[in-house]
Amino acid sequence: MADLLQIRGLVKRFGGLAATDGVDLSVTADEIHALIGPNGAGKTTLIHQIAGSLRPDAGHIVFDGHDVTRLGMHTRVGAGLARSFQLVSLFRKLSVVDNLAFAVQARSGTSFRFWRAAADERALFDEARTLAREVDLADRVDARAGALAHGEQRRLEIGLALATRPRLLLLDEPLAGLGPEESDRMVTLISALRTRCTMLLVEHDMDAVFRLADRVSVLVSGRIIATGAPDQIRAHAEVRRAYLGDDALVDG
């Protein structure tokens, strides 16, 4: 299968610290590729560079055969590369449906239109409501995004990314801060998205990672030390030493 995303020799330094230290990574079309690693390994820094909110110092990011290393975030989104944020980033004062309608609007034609009232564009809001259903927020469409429960906010975060109709979805710790029940719900949701887009999933919750991922890459100190099927990663000696710890896999 073809690689949808290819990262080659990516480097990002902050002062003396190489947060990304020559990363090579490829994400194959239609897989869920998990990226794991201890705190401070540089996972979020890597996601920022793939999404376009941080510029790498060296290396290349190739998305669907095109080098996107120098492109801005919104251009990448237009090409089908969307992200969700580790710290939820919503339009907190606006309703759920308005949140989603923004994302729909971004994708459907130019917004340099100055006369017609956007509130009259039924299509925007119809699609926003459909999206709300898909992320289990159908009964919350008129609620203020900031007033949603944390789990609901996480799902809206996914909805915003989905609304851009991504081909590759970057999920940065979608389970962070969720209780067991909400986590389960989110895993089910992500699993259901499998048919819609390829995903690169950064996550600390190993249960979820091993339930969802087709392949796993392990990032330690800015380098990928292993990539493979979940079972291979579990068994990988270097991974166990560097990251999972000796006792982490006992119940695995």
Partner: protein
């Protein structure tokens, strides 16, 4: 409650206001106080300038502290054009808008790369630069300003030397342009602006070219301020550097905040209240700014949403 992006402008407010404004010349004639009509023209053109600034501050989340630069540029374009013999309003006023738009494009292109307090400072710095440019341009009057040899010529049998005619022209221009801005705020473009105000990073992450939208808004606001400046040059029969001074930018910001940044017509209300207060207070005391300061403080502390929320609250109670 979630805030609404679509700005309603209630006919119950707009229709009576327009009716009163249309009948105002009859009233000032009747009480034989033509000066009030001059004051009303001034209020209107500042309402236009404040509404244009609110497009940036209230809807785009861009606190520009240099809006007077575009207002003053528009005034100077009209004065300089008149000096060079171009007095037709049909040429001079669009030209004023064009030049102000161009200035806004240049200043915006640079300033909009910064945010927050840096943006405030850099817009202020640009405006002060333009202020000193006009102060030092001796050919155009230097610090004394440049007087208009005559007011702009509209034709159609309208003579702007008449205060009544001038008032009606200002009223028409302001009403039409404010209506256009209202359409803009509720359009797709206006919606994007409001999204940028709420969460800029998120807008970028759902795929909007944020910088481009901000720049276009900056240029539109600059052009409208230029038009207001063109009207002001006609009203004062001159353009002066003080129109570009940071004091003027501050006044415009105060009008916006006093009236209510989150509301579409608030800044027009703010301009009205501010100029009327200035006029009445100055009659009683030389230190009117002191009293004005107190009133501003009270509004900001007691009505954080501005005077416009007063009207909304009343409506809710009723």
């Amino acid at each position: 409650m979630a805030i609404a992006l679509h700005q309603r402008v209630r006919p119950a407010i707009v229709v009576p206001v327009l009716a009163v404004l249309s009948a105002l010349p009859l009233f000032t004639q009747w009480i034989d106080e033509p000066f009030y009509l001059v004051l009303a023209s001034r209020v209107l053109l500042f309402a236009l300038a404040a509404t244009s600034l609110n497009l940036l501050v209230g809807f785009g989340g861009m606190v520009s502290f240099g809006h007077a630069a575009f207002f003053g540029a528009g005034a100077y374009v009209v004065a300089i054009a008149a000096m060079e013999g171009v007095t037709s309003a049909w040429i001079a006023w669009p030209l004023a808008m064009g030049v102000s738009a161009l200035a806004a494009a240049v200043i915006g292109a640079i300033s909009l790369r910064t945010r927050g307090v840096y943006f405030i400072m850099i817009t202020l710095a640009f405006a002060q630069m333009m202020f000193y440019v006009f102060v030092s341009l001796k050919a155009y009057g230097g610090e004394d300003g440049l007087s208009l040899p005559r007011r702009s010529v509209i034709g159609l049998g309208l003579d702007l030397k008449s205060d009544t005619t001038f008032y009606y022209v200002v009223l028409t221009v302001c009403a039409v342009v404010i209506a256009l801005l209202w359409r803009l705020v509720n359009s797709r473009f206006g919606r994007v602006l409001q999204g940028i105000r709420e969460n800029e990073t998120r807008m970028e992450a759902v795929g909007f070219p944020v910088y481009r939208h901000k720049l276009v808004a900056f240029v539109v606001a600059g052009a409208v301020a230029g038009l207001a400046g063109a009207l002001a040059a006609n009203q004062n029969d001159m353009a002066s550097p003080s129109m570009l001074h940071w004091n003027q930018s501050g006044m415009l910001l105060v009008m916006v905040i006093l009236g209510g940044t989150g509301t579409f017509l608030g800044p027009a209300l703010g301009a009205t209240v501010m100029l009327l207060l200035e006029e009445t207070l100055a009659e009683f005391t030389l230190h009117w700014q002191f009293v004005m300061g107190g009133i501003l403080l009270a509004v900001v502390l007691l009505l954080p949403g501005g005077l416009a929320t007063l009207l909304q609250r009343r409506r809710n109670d009723g």
